[in-house]
């Protein structure tokens, strides 16, 4: 058997015990073994069971992606590892806060925000903060358009993702 060498982007959801050090374990695994992290988000999703959900976007060959999942499964506090990219359709969302400063491009930035369905969450005489939600490529397109209009700061949450349909992880 030979491995295809092209890199693929995968979104992996990991349910873990919400205990001290669990994020360090996951991040340490990626850095220690030289895997990529394109995005990582984490928050407690089942407080009653003390379970957190980590969403990782990573890239690598099929073999590397398999390794990543198997290595994650090996961590003691990990409950489940699902590769949303291969397990059927899923929804991915990311939120960004985008700050645009200056007076020259104010009207234009509002117009573009409208097209992207971004909301203004803060405003001064010379700035806006937009909140935009969508897939990462949508956010990137919006940020690119804001650049000439006085973009000064961006904060992004990283990707969260969930499978479509009735099934839970």
């Amino acid at each position: 058997m030979s491995a295809p060498n092209n890199n693929q982007r995968h979104t992996i959801a990991v349910l873990v015990d919400n205990e001290p050090g669990v994020l360090a374990r996951v991040v340490g695994l990626f850095s220690g073994r030289g895997y990529n992290i394109e995005s990582l988000t984490v928050a407690e999703t089942k407080p009653e069971a003390g379970v957190s959900r980590i969403t990782i976007v990573t890239s690598g060959t099929i073999q590397i992606i398999e390794q990543i999942k198997n290595q994650l499964r090996r961590l003691v506090p990990v409950h489940t590892v699902s590769d949303l990219t291969i397990e059927g359709a899923h929804v991915e969302r990311e939120l960004a806060l985008v700050k645009v400063s200056g007076t020259a491009g104010r009207v234009e930035s509002l117009r573009i925000a409208d097209i992207f369905r971004a909301r203004v969450v803060d405003s001064t005489n010379e700035s806006f903060v937009f909140e935009i939600v969508g897939r990462p490529d949508k956010l990137e397109a919006f940020i690119k358009l804001m650049k000439p209009l006085g973009l000064v700061d961006v904060a992004r949450t990283g990707v969260v993702a969930i499978a479509r349909g009735p099934q839970a992880l």
Partner: protein
Amino acid sequence: MAYEEMTGAKILVQALIDQGITDVFGYPGGAILPVYDELFQQNQIRHVLVRQEGGAVHGAEGYARSTGKVGVVIVTSGPGSTNAVTGLADALMDSIPIVCFCGQVPTHLIGNDAFQECDTTGITRPCTKHNYLVKSTKDLARTIHEAFYVARSGRPGPVLIDLPKDVSLGLGPYIPPADVVHKTYQPRVEGDRALIEQAVAMMAEAKRPIFYCGGGVINSGPRASELLTQFVNMTGFPVTLTLMGLGAVPASHPQFLGMLGMHGTYEANLAMHGSDLIIAIGSRFDDRVTGRLNAFAPNAKKIHIDVDPSSINKNVLVDIGIVGDVTRVLEAMIEVWKARGYKADAAALADWRRQIEEWKGRNCLAYRHSDEIIKPQHAIKRLYELTKHREDVFITTEVGQHQMWAAQFYGFEKPNHWMTSGGLGTMGYGLPAAMGVQLAHPDALVIDIAGEASIMMNIQEMSTINQYRLPVKVFILNNEYMGMVRQWQELLHGGRYSQSYMSSLPDFVKLADAFGAVGLRAEKPSELDDVIKEMISIDRTVIADIRVDKAENCFPMIPSGAAHNEMLLGPQDKAEQPISEEGMVLV
């Protein structure tokens, strides 16, 4: 049900007793003193006081590997835990079950750069299977029992518990092991039935099959080695073992081809290269085994059985990967082989055997004997010949040429009798490991086959060995060089022996005396047998300083970056096959 309240220190000792632990290795210090106070007040657990914490972990590793039990270590905070790190990394690489307790500064001081504080869980996270910082005594008993469960389940490994001093002194409930069930960690032990059926069918069709088995067979317990030997007999297939797997099939077995890999036998490596089916059992396609990956066993289908799913398809893509405990999977495979009435392809197998016999005919382990100077290979060979009649011989090694010669020339008939640092390659492993083995097997003949450079790395444990009257034999192949470093410098770096000569070595005979042991020395081949016999007959610790040929290299060798069929069989080959540029960067 109400649990009995006790101090954390008492919980620890009670938990060890309930886990069936009788021996622990450790070194006291400020943060762990409450535990030592508790150890003082009981008689069920023997504590072995090492001379440096690294020795404690290797001691526990030797103990664990020779008994199949979990090895236990107790050290203090800060330097106590950092000294233990090498041993933990070693145990992780070789999948040895260890539970290590580290003292820690009290919880209210954590993060304050207190005296002898360090971020032990942070430092040890990548070199343990799992670790815990216990912040409340009420969690301690559960954590300890979980730690033992994690250490010995699935692919075994070291687990560390960081124990703040206030947690040791505080009160909490003692929960017995039976009441602790791990929520998430449930490694798979039964292999997938359909895959097992497919794998066995593939075996029945193979023309040039080979079993390639490793430490996973040993770790699965002695029954796995019995089953493997049985399966080897039933199929008639040849078998090779990794450094970690030696003893899984008796060395005297006619189908055993010796160790494979960088310093494995010609026949084992060529059989791997020429095979059409590799049945990998509890082995992990390590780079020392595979050689250049894109030339590894090019025509072989591969079946891989391992308890750790991440070992499958990691380095080499396989056709069938079966996740499960080796014992259970082998039981199922043998059952399928019998039930389906499979027979190996006798004609093809006879041809295959003929081919292998031809490779064996190269006599790859041959060396030029000398009457003037002791050849290191000869020294190991004589050691083997003069001890093989005994059932109770345990061999540990340090790391380097002597280790490879020991693997090549000492025959292991049973599992758990060979303790060597395989994955991490830790010089200084052998002496403390031998101490641990001897402690578990007081009447056995325990020999640390050492090099003069490695032995210096943990020589302080001679003092521990003396204290507990452990009759360990230290068999030093003394060539006054870091032999393997010197060999690589000769092969790869134009003979520029940068910092590999060991000058100002101690007089090992006097050193033995200083540590209350007996020192012996052999300088000529004619003295060798007498020294070995004397060493064995003395019922005390012995250091035997065997002065060997300083220039001898370890062959056969697959140079780095080369494939199985590009072995160097001896010094005459090395000029013809220069090391490739890709090979130069490999270790």
